[in-house]
């Protein structure tokens, strides 16, 4: 095996159990140490931004939720808020509360999904089986509320599409009680697992000095001890009226990011409990908006941000005097994490760390290439 001495090229993906979604990392290995890493995307490129130029506002609303598959709701919220900013719509307080609730539910679901991926990336097959099932219970509530498991198309420009079902909030709080019990179990089996600690501590350390300048977002930032969260810095919806805090860690490695995510689960359960208390009983949920052929956006542009479960996601939207959207560009958290940061972190690390690092950065390919 003389070839193993000189660097060999490995295509880690696109079809690989250890890759997050349908992307590929091209690795130059000596032994199992990575000399050079290069990310390749485009396996999921659908040209959403081109399609949206050909759709009216309401038709585009069915497209945006497909932009990031694991958590569609922040995309819908971003789109709806951008359209409202351009068209000058003001949504009612109840609609705001419901949107906040949907966002937090989506955050919880996605964090459970992430936990499965993170545990699976170190071969701990028990946790994915449990956490994906727990996430499914949240999807059941989504189905009851919006009519769909994954793609909800719920946060409509001008409000939300459906009224809350009878006794929905009660069922939600029951589920939250269950989750609080489960998080203790996961804490014992996964976050305190000696093998996970041995592997995750000191791996994929993000440089704190360049983190802000290079536009790292989300847990990657918070695990370095930098307290940034769109929900606090640029409050939207009801977040300035709700009481929650931003968990941070200081090490900046994979394990710190995992702990930050665990604390965020607890925080969003806390937020949901407040929402259940404060949810206004009456109030219209959907503004009267013009027919979708008459829905004209002015020739202006705007820029909105939402905190997803993986970091800040920004939409740039520009209208021209027609019923079509001139331009809508998505800047997801994965764009920079997947290229600038991942290629930097993987150098001089082991092949075994690739899956773990990608999972802890929360890379979601469909929002890189749209």
């Amino acid at each position: 095996m003389s070839e193993i001495q000189k660097a060999i090229k490995i295509f880690h993906g696109p079809q690989h159990p250890g890759i997050t979604g349908n992307m590929s990392v091209e690795l130059d290995l000596i032994g199992e140490t990575i000399q050079k890493a290069q990310t390749h995307v485009g396996y999921l490129h659908r040209g959403f931004e081109k399609l949206i130029e050909r759709r009216t506002v309401v038709q585009g609303f069915t497209i945006v939720c497909r932009i990031c598959v694991p958590e569609p709701d922040p995309n819908e919220e971003n789109y709806a808020r951008a359209v409202e900013t351009l068209a000058g719509l003001e949504i009612s307080e109840k609609a705001k509360y419901i949107r906040t609730m949907v966002l937090e539910m989506a955050r919880l679901a996605n964090l459970f999904m992430w936990m499965g991926g993170q545990a699976g990336s170190i071969g701990l097959g028990l946790i994915p089986q449990w956490s994906v099932c727990d996430r499914d219970y949240m999807l059941d509530l989504f189905e009851e509320l919006t009519g769909a498991r994954v793609y909800h198309m719920y946060a409509f420009p001008g409000g939300v599409r459906r009224e809350l079902p009878e006794g929905f909030l009660g069922r939600l709080s029951d589920l939250l009680d269950y989750y609080e019990k489960r998080i203790v179990v996961y804490n014992n089996t996964f976050f305190d697992n000696v093998v996970f600690k041995t592997r995750a501590i000191g791996v994929g350390i993000v440089n704190k000095d360049e983190a802000l300048k290079n536009a790292y977002v989300g847990q990657t930032l918070r695990a370095c001890g930098i307290k940034r969260d769109v929900r606090k810095d640029m409050p939207y919806l009801m977040y300035d009226k709700l009481d929650f805090d931003i968990p941070i860690q200081t090490e900046g490695d994979v394990y710190a990011r995992a702990l930050v995510r665990r604390d965020e689960m607890i925080q969003s359960i806390r937020i949901l409990r407040q929402i259940i208390e404060q949810m206004p009983s009456e109030g219209d949920i959907l503004q009267k908006i013009p027919k979708h052929r008459k829905f004209i956006l002015p020739a202006e542009d705007t820029y909105v941000q939402t905190e997803t479960a993986r970091g800040a996601m920004s939409y740039y939207m520009a209208g021209d005097g027609t019923e079509k959207i001139r331009r809508m560009q998505v800047r997801g958290p994965s764009l920079i994490h997947g290229f600038t940061l991942l290629e930097k972190l993987l150098v001089d690390s082991q092949l075994s760390d690739v899956a773990m690092t990608m999972n802890s950065l929360g890379i979601c390919p469909p929002e890189i290439e749209r």
Partner: protein
Amino acid sequence: MIDLASKLENISLELVEKNKRLYKVVVAIENLESLLLKFINEFGYITLDSMNYRDDIEDGVFTITYCLQTEKRDHIVMVQTSIVRENATLPSIHTIWPQAEIMEREMHEMLGVDFPGHPTLIDFALEHWQEMPPMRRDFDTLEFVNSLDPFRGQRDDNLDVKVEMKRLRAEKKALKLKAEQEENSKSEEGQEHE
């Protein structure tokens, strides 16, 4: 950030305040880099959040928007400039912000803008792409995809929706008429009996 306007007097530009956290600055292409550096060094907008591009084909320009964020991530300024569409060229800013490298790579592929001095202008999402850059407005995606991969033919038992609707409506009307006639006939019979 209210004194932004006063600070920017010496450069020829227009400042719009979208809301209390979002500003928009329109600047000519030659002042762009100096303005970006000024934003970094003097006003504390150190983060490049995204580079957004759109194709204003009516004016024959590409409109590029640099979205900068403060260190606290609580204010955003959109620095907007425009370049002519014919062999468009932009100064590469990947030396200022490393994340600009990938954004410029995407813009180069999707819009066909050239970035002199950019290290890696390779394929971003597309592969073996020979057509014009897809995000230009004069690129017709429907025509392209139809030429490459036609639609699936309709099924044999496929029915035209409009025709079917008409037929169903006619049937319903006929049934209604029949029922009314029966009613009338019944009532007439009743009258005859009396």
